[in-house]
Symmetry: C2
C-alpha cells in the first residue's frame, strides 16, 4: 500500500522561494507548513536585507548590536549619574562656576555620546534614518519611474485593483520578452533542453502526488470582528521587529527572546504561533481587534474542471509538475538516454494571504524552470570545465552558521572540495551566474547562498539560491536544487506508472536474486477468495523474511504467515510457495533518476535588474535630476530612438526612413517627432533605457548617441542601420565605434 502516502514525506514545492519575504527577510514558509525547501530564504536575511553580509541570527551571534545595546545602557547610566552630579553641584553652596560649567560640559559630552550610540544602534537594527531612508528613497524613485513610464501598473486599476496582481506595460513587456528570449538561447538552445508547455489548469491528483494539496499552506489569523485575514507569522515578526527597533532600552534577555522568536518563526507550529500572539497581546494591525487562532490556508487557486463540478482542480503553483508527469515520453524522446534536461516557461499562481512588496510577491507570475534528469550514480557534467574558472560570491552553509560573510570562490574549487555537492549542480550554478550577469545584474550584488540543513528537505542532496541584493535586501531569484529522486518517485507511487530509467550494461552481469513463486493453484484451493491477498503478501516479502520462511518450510513444512490486508495470520505449507536464490544475468539496471532543478522567478529577476540599472544624473541646463536605466541592448525595451534635431519635413522624412529600415532589421525603435527640445527628448529616451539615439540634423549624415556616456559620433545615412544593428547585436562595441567614426560635439541642446 504505497500509493498516496505522502503524509510523512516533505512535499515537493518547486521554487518555494518565490514566496520568500523581502522586506522582512525571514523565511515565511515553515518547514512544517510549506515544507520542502526548494530554495527557501535563510533566517539570516534580516541582517542581509540591510545590505551587509548575511549573518545567522541567534542570541549572541550578532555581537555588534549586542555590544551597542550594552554600551547604550552603560552610557545611559553615566548620563544619569553625571546629571545627578550636576544637580548636586548646583545645589551645594560655595562651588565655583567654573566647576559647575565643567560638570555641565561633561554631561553634554556624555549626552552627545549617548545620542551617537542611539544612532549606531538604530542603524544596526535597521531603523536607521540614514541608510534606511535613502534605500526607501532610491526604491521610490525607481518605482515612480517604472509606474510613470508604464513598465508596470496595478491590474484592474479602474476597478480599484487587486492586491498582488500587476500588468506589464509596453516597456515591461518588451523587457520580459527579451529576458525570456535570452533564457531560451542561454539554457534551452545552448544546452539542448527539451522545452514543454503544459496547461495551468491542473487536476487535483497531480498536486496530491506532489504534496501541494496537503501542505502548500500558510498559517492565517482572522480579525475577529471584520474578518480581515493576516499571515500569522508576519504579524508576530512585525511585532518583534518593531519592538527591537523602537525600544532601544529593552533588557538584554528580552532582546534575546524576540530575536529567538524571529529566528525560529519558521519552525513554530500553529499552536506555538497562536500562543506567542496571545502572550504578546498582538492585535489586528489596522483595527486593533483581537485575532482568531492561526489555521492553515492553502495557497492554490481552486477551480473545477468540466461541467459536472466533480473534477476538482487548481491553477498550478509551479510549472515543474508538468515536466515530471511527462518524464516517460521525454526520456523516450531523448532516445532513452540520460542525462537530459527539460524546461518550461509559464505562468504560476499562488493565492497569497496578503501580498505586499510590489512586483516581488505577487499572486500570478512567470516561472522558468529546468528539470535536469541524471543518473544518481554519475552526476558529473561534460561541460563543467567551461564554468570551473568562474569566480563569484558564494555563501556556503558553514560560513553562515559561523557568522562569516559570503566570499568570492572559484566554482571549480567549490565543487572539488565538496562545498557544492556535484558537478552538474555546480555547472548550473555557473550558468545561472552567467545568465544573470549577462542580463545586467551586478556581480558584486549577486551571491549564491547554500541552504542550511533546516531549510532543506531530507531527500534533497544540496540547494543553492541565487540571491540578488536590492533595496528590499537579498532577494532569492533563482533556486538551484538537487532534489534527488523525490518527484519522480511521488508520481510513480500515485499514478502506478513506473517513471524510471535504465542503464544497459555493455556485458551482462551475474547477480543473485531472491525469487518468490507462489503456487496460485494451491493457494486458491486453500484460501479461495482470499487467494489474491495472500499471493500479494507473499510476493511483497522482504529478503530476510522470505529466507526465514524458506528455512521454516524446509524444517517444519509449514509456517504461520501474517497477511496485513486480511488482518490475520494464515498457514502456509511448502506446496504453496517456493523461495529460491537464483543466479541471474542482468543486462541492465533500472533506477529512478535524480533531478537537478534551476527555477527562475522571472518577475523578481526583472525587478532587481530595474534597481541595478537605475541611476540619476543632474541636468546641466535645468535644476533637476534625470532618471536613467542603463539597460544593455540585450534587455532594453527599445534599442534605438530616432529623432529629428528640429521639427521640419525633410528631417522627419529621413527619421521615418531610418526607423523603417531599423524595424526591418528587427531593431525595435521609437521615432520621436514631437516638437520638444532635443534635451528633453534625450531625457525621455534615457528614462526608459534606450541605449542609442539617432539624431537627424542633416539629410546626408546623422549622429548616433550612446545613452550613458552621452557621446555622439557622426555617421553617413546609408551606414546608420547596420551600425546600430551591429551595436545592439553585440558585434561591435561603442569604444570601437568611437575610434572608427568622427566624434560629434553635442551643442548646448543636450542637457
Amino acid at each position: 500500500m504505497r500509493r498516496g502516502s505522502t503524509e510523512e514525506t516533505p512535499i515537493s514545492v518547486s521554487y518555494l522561494s518565490l514566496s520568500s519575504p523581502l522586506r522582512y527577510g525571514f523565511p515565511d514558509l515553515s518547514l512544517r507548513r510549506r515544507p520542502p525547501p526548494r530554495g527557501q530564504v535563510s533566517p539570516c536575511n534580516s541582517v542581509g536585507e540591510e545590505g551587509g553580509p548575511c549573518v545567522v541570527i541567534m542570541a549572541g551571534v550578532n555581537g555588534v548590536e549586542e555590544a551597542l545595546r550594552q554600551e547604550l545602557a552603560a552610557k545611559q547610566a553615566a548620563v544619569d549619574q553625571q546629571a545627578d552630579a550636576v544637580r548636586e553641584l548646583k545645589s551645594r553652596s560655595g562651588v565655583s562656576p567654573a566647576e559647575v560649567d565643567a560638570a555641565v560640559e561633561a554631561l553634554k559630552a556624555l549626552k552627545v555620546e549617548h545620542g551617537g550610540l542611539i544612532k549606531q544602534l538604530q542603524a544596526a537594527v535597521g531603523s536607521s534614518a540614514d541608510g534606511g531612508v535613502s534605500k526607501e528613497e532610491f526604491r521610490q524613485a525607481v518605482v515612480n519611474t517604472l509606474e510613470r513610464r508604464l513598465f508596470y501598473t496595478p491590474s484592474f486599476k479602474i476597478y480599484g485593483g487587486v492586491a498582488g496582481l500587476y500588468d506589464y506595460g509596453p516597456n515591461g513587456c518588451a523587457i520580459k520578452t527579451n529576458v525570456l528570449s535570452f533564457w531560451r538561447q542561454h539554457f534551452v538552445l545552448e544546452e539542448n533542453m527539451l522545452e514543454v508547455d503544459c496547461p495551468c489548469v491542473t487536476p487535483e491528483v497531480v498536486l496530491q502526488a506532489s504534496g501541494h494539496v496537503d501542505k502548500f499552506t500558510d498559517l492565517m489569523v482572522k480579525d475577529e470582528k471584520t474578518g480581515t485575514c493576516h499571515r500569522a507569522d508576519h504579524l508576530l515578526k512585525d511585532f518583534c521587529k518593531e519592538k527591537l527597533e523602537k525600544d532601544l532600552t529593552l533588557p538584554p534577555e528580552k532582546v534575546a527572546e524576540l530575536k529567538h522568536v524571529i529566528a525560529v518563526l519558521d519552525d513554530l507550529s500553529s499552536e506555538e504561533l497562536g500562543a506567542k500572539i496571545k502572550e504578546y497581546g498582538i492585535t489586528a494591525p489596522d483595527t486593533k481587534n483581537s485575532l482568531s487562532d492561526p489555521y492553515p490556508f492553502n495557497l492554490m487557486f481552486e477551480t473545477s474542471i468540466g461541467p459536472t463540478g466533480l473534477l476538482h482542480g487548481y491553477m498550478r503553483p509551479e510549472t515543474a509538475q508538468g515536466i515530471f508527469v511527462n518524464f516517460r515520453d521525454l526520456y523516450y524522446y531523448n532516445g532513452n538516454k540520460l542525462p537530459f534536461a527539460a524546461a518550461q516557461i509559464g505562468q504560476a499562481f499562488r493565492n497569497e494571504i496578503s501580498p505586499r512588496q510590489g512586483l516581488l510577491r505577487v499572486r500570478e507570475f512567470t516561472l522558468a524552470e529546468v528539470e535536469h534528469f541524471v543518473d544518481p550514480q554519475d552526476k558529473s557534467h561534460p561541460k563543467f570545465s567551461e564554468v570551473a574558472q568562474l569566480e563569484f560570491l558564494m555563501f556556503p552553509k558553514e560560513d553562515q552558521l559561523t557568522g562569516q560573510s559570503a566570499k568570492i570562490m572559484a566554482l571549480g574549487k567549490a565543487v572539488s572540495q565538496g562545498t557544492v555537492n556535484n558537478e552538474t549542480l555546480g555547472y548550473f550554478i555557473g550558468r545561472v551566474f552567467l545568465f544573470l550577469t549577462q542580463l545586467g545584474i551586478h556581480k558584486d550584488r549577486l551571491r549564491f547562498r547554500q541552504h542550511l540543513p533546516n531549510e532543506m528537505a531530507h531527500y534533497a542532496a544540496d540547494c543553492w539560491d541565487a540571491e540578488i541584493e536590492c533595496s528590499f535586501g537579498w532577494i532569492e531569484c533563482v533556486g538551484i536544487a538537487d532534489r534527488s529522486a523525490y518527484d519522480l518517485r511521488a508520481h510513480t507511487e500515485k499514478s502506478g506508472i513506473n517513471l524510471v530509467a535504465h542503464e544497459k550494461f555493455s556485458e551482462p552481469r551475474e547477480v543473485e536474486k531472491l525469487v518468490i513463486t507462489p503456487s496460485k493453484k494451491e493457494l486458491g484451493l486453500a484460501f479461495k477468495a482470499n487467494q489474491k491477498m495472500v499471493v500479494q503478501a507473499l510476493e511483497a516479502m522482504k529478503e530476510a523474511e522470505a529466507l526465514e520462511m524458506k528455512a521454516a518450510l524446509e524444517s517444519k513444512g509449514e509456517v504461520e504467515f501474517q497477511v496485513c490486508t486480511l488482518g490475520k495470520a494464515v498457514t502456509i505449507n511448502k506446496n504453496m510457495v517456493s523461495v529460491n536464490i537464483e543466479k541471474k544475468k542482468e543486462h541492465q539496471r533500472e533506477f529512478t533518476p535524480s533531478v537537478i532543478e534551476p527555477s527562475f522567478g522571472i518577475g523578481r529577476i526583472i525587478y532587481c535588474l530595474y534597481e541595478h540599472s537605475f541611476y540619476t544624473r543632474s541636468s546641466k541646463t535645468e535644476n533637476e535630476q534625470l532618471n536613467v536605466f542603463s539597460f544593455s541592448p540585450l534587455v532594453a525595451p527599445k534599442k534605438c530612438t530616432v529623432l529629428p534635431l528640429v521639427k521640419n519635413d525633410a528631417f522627419d522624412g529621413v527619421a521615418k526612413t531610418i526607423s523603417r529600415s531599423l524595424t526591418r532589421a528587427g531593431i525595435s525603435n521609437i521615432i520621436d517627432i514631437t516638437g520638444t527640445s532635443i534635451g528633453k527628448r534625450y531625457a525621455r529616451t534615457d528614462e526608459i533605457g534606450v541605449p542609442f539615439a539617432v539624431t537627424v540634423d542633416s539629410t546626408t549624415s546623422v549622429t548616433v548617441r550612446e545613452r550613458d556616456s552621452r557621446q555622439q559620433i557622426r555617421v553617413n545615412l546609408d551606414e546608420v542601420s547596420s551600425l546600430v544593428k551591429d551595436l545592439t547585436d553585440g558585434l561591435t562595441t561603442w569604444a570601437d565605434v568611437m575610434w572608427k567614426y568622427p566624434a560629434h560635439t553635442a551643442t548646448s541642446a543636450e542637457d
Copy 2:
C-alpha cells in the same frame, strides 16, 4: 442609473470563434447564449467543412442533394417495378429464357444505377467513403506523426489525461515560440503597438462589465441517470446529420426540416432546443438514457481571490479585457493621440462542456489579440496603400447569402466599393493575410469570410474571419472585427471612469450649451439630507426636460419635479436652479474611440499549419511512406541537423564543432550521431520538418541538404555556419545556393 445595466446589450466576447465547431462546422454559440459575434463561424460551414465552397444551407438551396434524393426515390421505384416484372415473367409459363434473361439484365442495370446514385448522394451529404475517409486518413497520419514526435501530447497522461488539455512537447514548443516571435515582429514591432501583459486571474466585476458573467454560456443537458453532461446543440446536430447521412430514403419534407433545424440551431432558445430533443426522442449517446432539459452553463473557470473567499474571480476567457481596462493609461502613454494599437499574447481559459477535435477545441489556449483604437469619424489608415494591391479569397456576406463561392478579390477594391467597411479594418485583413501566408498557410486554402447579419452584434460595424481549410473543414483562426465603441463604453459605465479620447480643434468652435446650475445652498435649506439627490436629479435632466422647467420657472416661479431616487416629487422654485443656454467656445471634442480587433487563436493556426505542411513520399530503398513537414525556416522547430555520414571520431568532432558554432549564431540545431543509416536519419529529421541538414563526410568540407528537394551542395567547413544562417534568416535562397556551390550527388545511402 446606467451602471451595470448590460442586460439588453449583447455582450463583448472576444474571439468567440475559438469556440467555433470544427467537425460539424456550425456555430455553436447562439447569439442569445454566447451572443456577440466576435467572429463566429457561419452556418454555412457544414458544407464548407467538406472542402467545397461555403453555401448557406436553406431548404432548396442545395439543389444537387435535393435532385439526387428525388432521382434516387424514382430509381428505387423503377427497381421495384422491374423486380416485380422479372418475378411475373418467371412465374408465367411459356416465356422464353432469352426474355427472362433480358428482364434480369435490365434489373441489374437499374440496380447498378441505383447504387451509383446512393454513392453520389452519400458524397453530397458528406458520408462519402471516398473523399471523407481519405481526409480522415490524412488527419490520422498527421496526428500520429505529431504525437509520435512529441509535437503535442494529452496533458497529465499518466493520470488518464483531462479532456481539452494538451501539452506541447519540444517540437511543438519551438514552433509556438517561432510563431509568437514572428507575430511580435509582424504586428507589435512593425506597427509600433503597445504590448501589455495582464494576469489570467480576473475579478468578477471586469467580466460583469464585459458581459461574460451573465452570458458566456452554452446550453447543457445531463444524462438523467449517470449525470454525464452534453452540449444540447451538439446532440441535436449530431442526430440531424446522422439521419441525413444514413437514411437516404427520407421524404423531401423531412430532409428540409432536418436541414432547417441545423441552419437555425444557433438561434434556438433553451425551450426550443429542449422541445426538439424530446420530439426526436434523442437520448444520451453512450448510455441511451433520457436527458434533462437544457440549461445554460457558464464556460468560465471560477476561482476565489485572496483568503476570505469573498472576492469572486475567473480565469480570463480572452485577453482583450486587460487592454480595455488599461485604455486610459495606454492613451496617455501614446501622448493622448489616436489611433494607436495595444496588443497582448497570453493564456485564455474556457471550461468547455465536452471538448473534442484535438488541438482545435481546448480548455486552455494561447490568444494573441490586438485592440486598435481609432476615431470613429476617421477610420482611414496611412499604410493602407501598402496592402491595397493584395489579392486573395474573400467571401462577402452577399455572396454567402446568394449561394456563391468565395472569390479572389483585390483588397483595395473591397474597401473602395464598401465590401469591407473601412481602411483600418481592411489594413488588418491584409496584414493577417501576409502573416498567415508567410508562416506557410497555403493561400488557396485561406479565405476571409464576412459575418452574416445574424452573426454580428448590433454594435459591430463589420467582422471578417480568416478561415483556414483543413481536414475538419474551414476553421476560423483569426477574427477581425470593428467592434465600434462597445467595450470602452461598457467599462466606462461599470467603473465610472471615463474611457474617452479628445480631439483638439486647431481653432476653438462656438457651440450652444445647456447649463444647469443648482443652488446647493437653497436646495440644502429646503431639502436638508435629500439635497444631494435633488441636485443629482436636476443635473441629470435631459435638454427638453430642462428647457421645459426653465419655461415653467419663468412663468410660474416654481414647478413640481420628480426625483426618482427619492421616489417622490419635490417643489423647485426659481432660486433653487438656473437653466441657461450659453454660447461656449469648445477647444476639443470628447468621444469614445472605436476599436478594431484582430484576435488570433495561436493553437488553431499552428494545427492548420501542421496540416498544410505535411506530406508523404515513398522511400526509394524501402517499401514505406516517409512523412515530411515542409516548415519554412521561420517556423521549423530546428533549423538544421548535423550528421556525420558514418560513425567515426573525426567526423563526430567536426559535427560537434559545426553544431556549436550554429548554436552560437542562434541557429537551433540537432546533432545526430547515432549509428543509424544516413537515409533513416534524413527521414527522422524530415519528419519533424528540419529544413537543412549538414552531412559530415570529410574533415575539410561538408554537404548541405535541403529537405524538400533533397538536393545537396558541397561547402567548405569554414563557410557552413554562415551559409546555414543566411539560408534560415532568408538572406539567401536555396536556388541561389545551388547556383553558387557545387552540387553533391547523394550516394545510394539517401533513401
